[in-house]
């Protein structure tokens, strides 16, 4: 693991601050293009911010503001994901989406949305009558008016993707420092000296990918704020796997002014999800779950898919979007200081990450550094957690199942806590394997897992310092 100090370069080409999906994609892009990269993440493991909880949809960008930077990054990110995913062992569920109108007002809005999709280059949308919609999704509730189908909206694994991007960066030479918060820094005209909780780190270029803390990091490093993060919370209710057969498409509402609205869709892990809400809050850290809201989500889910009633809820979670006072992404180049801010990647970062990374890499040409792209980069494969693909429990030599609900094998847990991107905490093991995330929430596997991970996690699972 590249987390020990011994041979760390004295000067990196690029320091990326933030191990969210955007930071991971940036680390990959710069590494593949020949730069020496370090990624600095303040949490004990990556994906601790906005990228911790999202809907897992690979958006086409059909509903993005036409001509926006966001639309361009999504289109490019979408394309590259499909291009590289097999080589990194990343899944895709080609389910398509239906944008459904339930009221007169929503029905009236459909043609405009279709037109917008076409302007965004998503020309294969198909308007459908209520009857046609119902033929595709017989489980839909009463009151359905009309819809249009977006055939290339897909589902992906929201955790495997960033892990794969960063892992590819690391096996091709990038450095990862976790538990490393950037607290300040100076640019001396040619290079940065970043002050971090793990000491100082020098790099020619600094990229701010601090997500929910993007404005704070700008303040710390360049002494100004060009935007203000306004965290927007999204709560979800997740149903157990048997519910996944109730819908084949991603069921989208007609979007409101500020959000995409309540979605019902499967997940890569074979569950069915209802959410997210869109609630503005001050707190950048805590995404509190509220029972009333969760109940309302369940009710909405049951209106959309009546057969959902009676299915078991297996998980509840909430994520925070790094929204700002602006609608578009806040990507700003400070050419005089070898500094780029990649901020306000609000609600489409999973889809756009690879495209956003390419865009930012392109901007950095302005700094005049020329690196030679790696001729034959290594392509590591990440674990496959997607239910529509072959899983480890179906293969020989898996060591047996540890987590019965999510069918996570001993070999998968073992892989999650070893290697260059080993999990540092139980949360990290969960994000890599989904262990304990199922219907029993660890009734059976907690003890096994504690035994397997004993003395092998930076943040111990239980009983190590938490008892006080």
């Amino acid at each position: 693991m590249h987390e020990v100090d011994i041979t760390q370069p004295d000067l990196f080409d690029v320091a990326i601050v933030g191990g969210g999906v955007i930071g991971c994609a940036l680390a990959r892009r710069f590494t593949l293009d020949g730069a020496t990269v370090v990624l600095l993440e303040k949490a004990p493991d990556i994906l601790d911010g906005a990228s911790k909880g999202n809907s897992g949809i690979l958006h086409t960008g059909f509903d993005a503001p036409p001509g926006s930077l966001e639309a361009a990054c999504i289109a490019e990110g979408y394309r590259e994901y499909l291009e590289i995913r097999e080589r990194l062992n990343l899944p895709v569920i080609r389910c398509g989406a239906l944008v459904i109108a339930w009221t007169d007002e929503e029905t009236a809005a459909l043609p405009g949305l279709v037109d917008q999709a076409i302007r965004n280059g998503v020309a294969d949308v198909e308007p459908l009558t209520a009857a046609e919609t119902r033929r595709l999704e017989p489980g839909l509730g009463a009151g359905l008016r009309a819809s249009f189908r977006v055939p290339r909206e897909y589902l992906i694994d929201p955790w495997a993707a960033p892990h794969a991007y960063l892992l590819q960066a690391i096996v091709n030479g990038a450095w990862l420092r976790r538990g490393c918060e950037v607290t300040g820094g100076d640019f001396d005209g040619t290079a940065w000296r970043l002050a971090t909780t793990l000491g100082s780190i020098r790099a020619r270029v600094v990229v701010n990918a601090a997500g929910l803390y993007g404005d704070i990091l700008d303040e710390r490093l360049i002494g100004r704020r060009d935007f203000t993060i306004r965290p927007r919370k999204g709560q979800f209710v997740v149903y157990d796997k048997p519910a996944a057969s109730l819908a084949s498409h991603i069921l989208l509402p007609v979007p409101g002014k500020t959000t995409k609205g309540i979605v019902v869709c499967r997940t890569a892990y074979g569950n069915l999800l209802v959410g997210p809400t869109a609630e503005d809050q001050e707190d950048r850290r805590e995404a509190a779950l509220e029972p009333e809201t969760l109940r309302a989500l369940s009710r909405r889910g049951e209106e959309i898919l009546p057969a959902l009633a009676g299915h078991d809820v297996t998980a509840i979670y909430a994520g925070l979007r790094p929204a700002t006072e602006f609608k578009d992404y806040q990507i700003r180049l400070h050419a005089d200081r070898n500094y780029v801010t990649v901020g306000g990647i609000r609600s489409t970062g999973l889809s756009s990450a690879l495209g956003t990374a390419r865009h930012v890499h392109g901007l950095c040409a302005a700094f005049g550094f020329s690196a030679t792209p790696l001729a034959e980069p290594a392509w590591p494969m990440v674990g496959m957690m997607c239910e529509t693909e072959q899983r480890d429990w179906q293969r020989p030599g898996n060591g047996g199942i540890v987590c019965h609900c999510e069918r996570v094998t001993r070999r998968e847990v073992e892989e999650a806590i070893t290697g260059p991107l080993a999990a540092g905490s139980l949360a990290g093991v969960k994000r890599r394997t989904r262990v304990t995330m199922g219907r029993c929430q660890g009734f059976y596997c907690t003890a096994d897992l504690a035994a397997m991970t004993r003395d092998r996690l930076v943040v111990p699972m239980a009983g190590g310092g938490h008892g006080a």
């Binding site: 048997p242 898996n398 009734f443 059976y444 003890a447 096994d448 035994a451 239980a462 009983g463």
Partner: protein
């Protein structure tokens, strides 16, 4: 290394808990040649394997045993009878045939059987399924996880947790805490009184733990690890209790996820398979016994059910069971009744594995329990019951009827 799993057998039992092991031993005793028990855990024994406390074994062994010793005896008895027990293998699909899809350390295999017994037990309702608000820190766990950490791994996950629930299992959690030197700071129950009967309900007082009834957990607080819970007390006031753990106990539901994705019929009331008085499912090659049938009974009860259903399975293999078609469908009218089983009575009069209907209420109920067949009352008696208390009614009350819809209702006392 154990020889590889046979790909065919007379009976495959899923679940090596009290019900599955009792059935398997009974099948062997009745001359069934090959009986194999499959369990996904590292060792056989079911839930009792984790319960390092009394009382187990009174019905089965006429001795008061702790869970692990009890589990070991059940396993010993089944092995002595010639049952082939395989742990560490997970059944992943049920198919007509019957054929089971099984995940082993060596990959997926299929096992064909002449008959299958489902004995997969129950699980506790999680924090997520209860929609408890707040953050998602570490230190929130079901009883099973607590007991696994304490008994199997000698880990003490926290010092002063709160315990949610007052079912028998909640008191089992208290005993585990006492064993590990953990001092719960409160036991929290949304209902008006403790669910479990005396004397278990005396335990908190003996241990000096406040029992807060009529109280809900509004939110869990903490970033990496639990720091406090906010409770809503009977008057609606909220209060913060600092704590370093939350044990989310009870509200069992059958471990029926295999069923939900299979061709077998599920009963909405119990959450388990719909069965007849022989324990047969909607596909008569599949049988079920133990807590999978309903939440939740003692080990002794589940064991006895396993034994009797094992007997019926031996009869079925010998062609001695009445056909499974037709019969009387048995349902509950709704609140306060939660469920009834068996849900079908076929060829009425033949002695079955279940001599009684088992019912439960979902809320405290007092009145008259009656059985109506196609609307006409067949039988009735007084009822006074609380949630999670066993109610039994002899199957005989159905008389000689062999078709129709039988419905249990609770009416006014004088009706």
């Amino acid at each position: 290394m154990a020889p590889s799993i046979p790909r065919s057998c007379d009976v495959a039992v899923i679940g090596a808990g009290p019900a599955g092991l009792a059935a398997a031993a009974e099948l062997k005793a009745r001359g069934v040649a090959s009986v194999i028990v499959l369990d996904r855990e590292a060792g056989p024994g079911g839930i009792p394997r984790h319960c390092d406390h009394y009382p187990f074994g009174l019905r089965e062994f006429r001795r008061l045993l702790k869970g692990p010793a009890y589990a070991a005896r059940l396993v010993g008895r089944a092995e002595a009878a010639g049952v082939d027990i395989r742990a560490g293998v997970t059944v992943t699909a049920l198919r007509p045939g019957p054929v089971l899809e099984v995940s082993t350390a060596d990959g997926l295999v299929e096992i064909a059987a002449r008959a299958v017994l489902l004995a997969t037990g129950v699980r506790e309702t999680s924090r997520a399924a209860r929609l408890i608000g707040g953050t998602k820190p570490g230190g929130v766990m079901p009883t099973g996880a607590l007991q696994g950490l304490v008994h199997l791994d000698a880990i003490k996950p926290f010092d002063k947790p709160v315990v949610l629930g007052t079912e028998l299992v909640s008191f089992s959690a208290l005993l585990t805490c006492r064993h590990a030197g953990i001092r719960p700071v409160a036991m929290i129950e949304p209902g008006p009184r403790a669910t479990a009967r005396w004397p278990a309900s005396l335990l908190p007082r003996l241990m000096g733990i406040p029992l807060l009834t009529g109280t809900e957990v509004a939110a869990i607080e903490g970033d990496g690890w639990v720091e406090a819970v906010t409770i809503r007390e009977p008057g609606g006031t909220t209060r913060r209790i600092p704590t370093d753990g939350v044990v989310v106990t009870g509200r069992f539901v059958p471990e029926a996820s295999l069923l939900r994705t299979s061709h077998l019929e599920l009963d909405a009331g119990t959450g388990g398979p719909s069965i007849d008085q022989f324990g047969r499912c909607s596909d008569p090659a599949y049988f079920a016994a133990g807590n999978l049938l309903r939440p939740v009974e003692t080990a002794g009860w589940s064991w006895n059910e396993g034994r009797l259903v094992g007997r019926a399975m031996a009869d079925a293999l010998a062609g001695r069971l009445p056909s499974s078609g037709g019969g009387v469908r048995v349902v509950v009218a709704g609140k306060p009744l939660k469920y009834v089983l068996p849900q079908r009575i076929v060829a009425n009069g033949a002695p079955g594995s279940h001599a009684c209907f088992q019912l439960r209420v979902s809320e405290a109920a007092a009145g008259r329990l009656a059985l109506r067949l196609d609307g006409a009352e067949l039988w009735g008696r007084r009822l006074s019951s609380l949630p999670e208390r066993r109610i039994t009614v002899p199957l005989d009350v159905l008389g000689a009827w062999s078709t129709g819809l039988a419905e249990f209702v609770v009416g006014k006392r004088s009706a």
